[in-house]
Amino acid sequence: MTVISKEGKQSGRDLNSKISLYDVRKKFGDHHVLNGVNLHVAPGESLVVIGASGVGKSVLLKCIIGLLRPDSGNIEIDGSDIVGSSEKSLQNTRRKFGMLFQGAALFDSLTVWENVAFGLIQGMGMARSEARERSIHNLARVGLEKSVADLVPSELSGGMKKRVGLARAIATNPEVLFFDEPTTGLDPIMSDVINELIIKCVGELGATGVSITHDMASARKIADRIAMLHDGHIIWQGHVDDIDKSDNAFVDQFINGKSDGPIRVEAVSN
């Protein structure tokens, strides 16, 4: 896994992409959620997809991980297409992935360390004693003490759950890390802590990062590049520093959080 410099990240697209989406479409009933999404993520890059709530960011992420199958289009991971690939090869591709879910999605029947070690024990067949040691090490990487290891998820606060979720995501040293709304439901300080941890963990692993969020503070902090999803398309993408001069009315409305603009907010009453 090579880490590309900041300059290299912007030019290292297309052929050398870690993840490439070509004309990905997905509809539910008559509603076209993704309507031809094209997107490329370079190795070692951190891409953040922004967009309004309900615009299909989660659907996009689930398509990339293979939890949802797009209706048409291609999704390539390291050059090999995962759309239409067998369950087995999909599972092999997923070994490269780690994911932090919105609500952390910790298994509540298992202890904290068993959660963190899950991918090591079930996915990689590691012995429990060794996996426990590795879990405690991974918990330390996200700033949690050893005493947390034997608690169950219901005993943890929201921020701690996110940290454990992060420790679980990085436990198998994945090549690609996905973050689904990593700061939702956290206070601003804890949000910043999680953002810092994401940057640290992605950096240490040299992993590629793909995040979806509507929290601009978080997006600005963790992104190398930002893409905006609206109406089933990527309507703008560019370097994080360029987002304030995008000349795109949709992007401007979103990043400045205005209720009036081209993005129509659904009225509460019909």
Partner: protein, 262 residues
Amino acid sequence: MIGTINLFVTSVGRGALNFLSVAGRIAVFAGRSITRSVLPPFYPKLIFSQMISIGYFSLPVVGLTALFTGMVLALQIFLGSARFNAESAVASIVVIGITRELGPVIAGLMVAGRVGAAIAAEIGTMRVTEQIDALETLSTDPFRYLIAPRLIAASITLPVLVLVGDIVAVFGAYLVGVYKLGFSPVTYIQNTMDFLEAIDVISGLIKASVFGFIIALMGCYHGYQSRGGAQGVGAATTLAVVSASILLLSADYILTELFFIQ
């Protein structure tokens, strides 16, 4: 008039299509679950813990219902058969009725309520909190890890529960027969054993195994398909119990015909 007929035909058609699509989805889900249940990797620890929660913890409820069913059955059959002076048949009819029919059905319905609902609620909660998605991202097949252990455990433990239930029910009937209806203990036991055939018990146990499979399958299916938070999980729980109960009773008829009508 034509409008009303149209509306009627449309709604019947839509209902039929919905029914078929649900039946199809359940069949696909069942097929996938069965192949994952018989092919490795297996999770023996998970199967064992499911056997404890499905089987062992259902013992009190199955035992109590079986006891009262046996008692009331003895009383009713005694009163009924008194009309044509056949009181001596009480013990034999009770034991055949229990082992062939009431044991598996009553245990099945009680377990459908207790276990089917619990499975649907647990898997449904895992679905809506994205724990099932998390399993997949951690290279673990949810069908193998969550569903197969429940199906295997339920199919194995239900016959054991029913066997216990049969014994308790017959014991309940014995108590009523001896202490309330005045049978002699020896005659009652002799009558119980004399007309009992192996097929009576075995058919009941096979039924129980099928019922266990149905209960776990419905719990898993409705939990797995649940959407939309607490309300979705609540609906999944209800559907799991209702559909398991109905399927169980229809399977009961089909199995009875297969066993006893040539």
